[in-house]
Structures are given as structure tokens and as C-alpha cells.
């Protein structure tokens, strides 16, 4: 009787557990969709993160995040609008370069010949490394390493040592 009751309770628990998991999954999926549809709140820090990478069109060497001019204020507003629209930092920076020229970014753009500026430093380092390798190999101190010495027979060395010993000791008083 107890066994029968226990077996009849198991399907109920399974049904309850399945319903719980499905409900939880549905809630999570809905929450994710709502989160995705809700525009992300853009903070001043978000705006300044990008603004600090861009330079004022009017002032010299002043970044947008600290520039008090109306032009910079409008550019910051434009950055905020683009962040709210879901643009990435890089997309916003590219937009500003296209719209206002490469001078708005602190570094030369990585396009066209601009790549040369970025390629020269590492290429020079590699070139210098290769040159240093060849120069060091030419040094006189290292040339001995490259000498192709013939192996000296062991017996000959032994003879030399014996002769050397004899020569050293022959003048010693007995």
C-alpha cells in the first residue's frame, strides 16, 4: 500500500519539477528580451571614455572630455546619442574621423600610408635584431667558434704532456 502511494507521488513531483524549470526558463528568456529592448542608460563616464580619445576642433591639444567650448559640448551630445543608439566605441571614433578628419584623434589613422607609421617601429626593431645577429657573428672573438679544427689524437696529447713534464722537471735539483 505504502509502495503504491509512493509510486503514485513520483509522477506528480516530476510534473511539478518540469513545470518549474520551464517557467523559470520562460522568465529568464523574457527578462533577457526586455533587457535587450530597453535602451541602455549611457552615463557621463561612458561619454567621457570616448570623448577623452578625441580632440577639440577649435582648441589645440584639448580633448573633448575637458573642453568647455560649445563645439565640444555638441560633439559630446553626439557621442551620447550614438552610444544610446548602440554604436560601439570604435564605430563612433570612425564616424568622427570620417566626419571631421583624422585630426580629431590623437594618433594617425591606420589607413593607407598611415599604416607605415605603425609598421616602421616593429620592422625597425626586427631589422636591428637581425643586423645585430649578423654583426655579432662577425666579431673576432666568435670566429673561433666557427673554426673547423681537426681533432687532436689523444695519444699525441699524452706525448706532449710527458715531454712538457720532462722539460719542467729536468732542471730541478734531485
Amino acid at each position: 500500500m505504502n509502495l503504491h502511494m509512493a509510486s503514485s507521488k513520483v509522477p506528480n513531483l516530476r510534473w511539478f519539477f518540469s513545470a518549474f524549470v520551464m517557467g523559470l526558463t520562460a522568465i529568464l528568456v523574457l527578462a533577457a528580451r526586455v533587457q535587450a529592448q530597453t535602451p541602455q542608460a549611457v552615463t557621463d563616464d561612458d561619454v567621457n571614455r570616448i570623448a577623452s580619445q578625441l580632440y577639440c576642433p577649435v582648441c589645440e591639444n584639448v580633448t573633448l572630455d575637458v573642453c568647455p567650448t560649445t563645439a565640444c559640448d555638441r560633439w559630446r551630445t553626439a557621442i551620447r546619442a550614438k552610444l544610446e543608439a548602440g554604436w560601439s566605441d570604435q564605430a563612433i571614433e570612425d564616424y568622427f574621423v570620417e566626419q571631421y578628419g583624422a585630426r580629431v584623434i590623437g594618433t594617425p589613422p591606420r589607413i593607407g600610408l598611415g599604416w607605415l607609421l605603425y609598421a616602421v617601429a616593429p620592422a625597425s626593431a626586427i631589422g636591428l635584431g637581425v643586423a645585430a645577429y649578423f654583426v655579432l657573428r662577425r666579431k673576432p672573438g666568435n670566429q673561433a667558434v666557427t673554426r673547423n679544427s681537426a681533432p687532436v689524437p689523444t695519444a699525441e696529447i699524452k706525448n706532449w704532456r710527458e715531454k712538457l713534464d720532462r722539460d719542467i722537471h729536468k732542471d730541478e735539483p734531485v
Binding site: 555638441r74 607609421l117 609598421a119 666557427t146
Partner: protein, 189 residues
Amino acid sequence: MMHENPQEPETVQQPRRAPVWGIVFALLLLAGFLVFIGASLVKKSSPPVKLGDTMPEFALTSFDGQSYSSGELTGKVVLINFWASWCTTCADEAAALQTAWSEFEPGGKVIFLGVDYSDTEPEAKAYIQYFGLTYPSGTDLGTRISQLFRITGVPETYIFDANGRLVSITIGPFKTVQEIRSAVNGALE
């Protein structure tokens, strides 16, 4: 009887030399870099346009979608005004420019072009609407046109005669409509 030194080397390898392709590559890289630096310096050191110069080649798309290029403008007196909506002194001359444009437009011998420098489009359009500007204006994309003219700020106005020669440069705003009339009429003569 002494033996000869048994460790006398028989052969000595020649030290390796840098491969030719490496030297060529390094030289090409260096030459390319120098050309790039040279081109940049030439571009940056080019002088601003001066009276008598021909009109620099440029293209401008106005906010209403019309395209204007310097090549198509020859035969007309061209007034190019650099402005921005954030520029307070530009606002001082905006009404005068519009008044002058309304006087010269019917003759068909003069064209005014507004070049909007480093501006945001909504504010630029609001500025145009506020001052009722009807002459074509467009964004200076990538500040290419202002770099060609090497402007020092806004507002600046350049007037070319019908042969495309620069006959007037005004740094700063026009004070009165009469100033604009005189400059344009001078170019028309």
C-alpha cells in the same frame, strides 16, 4: 724536436653576411617612410590660398543633397563662406549674407556656398532654418575643404571671380551687407 701546434685550424668558415632580400626590404621600408614623412610635411607646409590663386578643387554636398564641385562653378562669381553653428561671430553675419544672396541670386552670375566646419548636423540645420539661409550649405566632410583653403577659423569668406581667381579674402565676419555687396561687385567687374 718540437712538434708543430697540433691545434692549428685547417679551415675557417667565412662569417655570414646579411641576406640581400633583407637589405633590400630594409631600404624599401626606409624609403617608403621617408616619402610618407616628406609628403606629410609638404602637405602641411603648403601656404594658405592667396589673392590671385585659382580655386582649389573640391566637392561639396549640400544639406538638401545637391552636389557642387569647383570645376562646375567656373564662369560664375563664387562666394565660399566657412561657418559653424557653434560660432557666435558666424551668427553676426548670417543675416547679412542671406540679404546679399537674395539680391545676387536672381542675376544668376553669382553663387554663394556655405561650408559647415566641424559641426553637428542637427544644430547646423537648425542654424540654417533659424536664419532662413537659402543659399546652399553643406558639411565639410573630413574638413577636407577647410584644409585646402587652410582656414584659420570661422567665419572666413573667399570670393572667386568668373575665371576662378581669388579676388577677396575676409577673415572674420562681414560687418554689414554693404561690405558683401562691395566684395561681390568687385569680383563681378
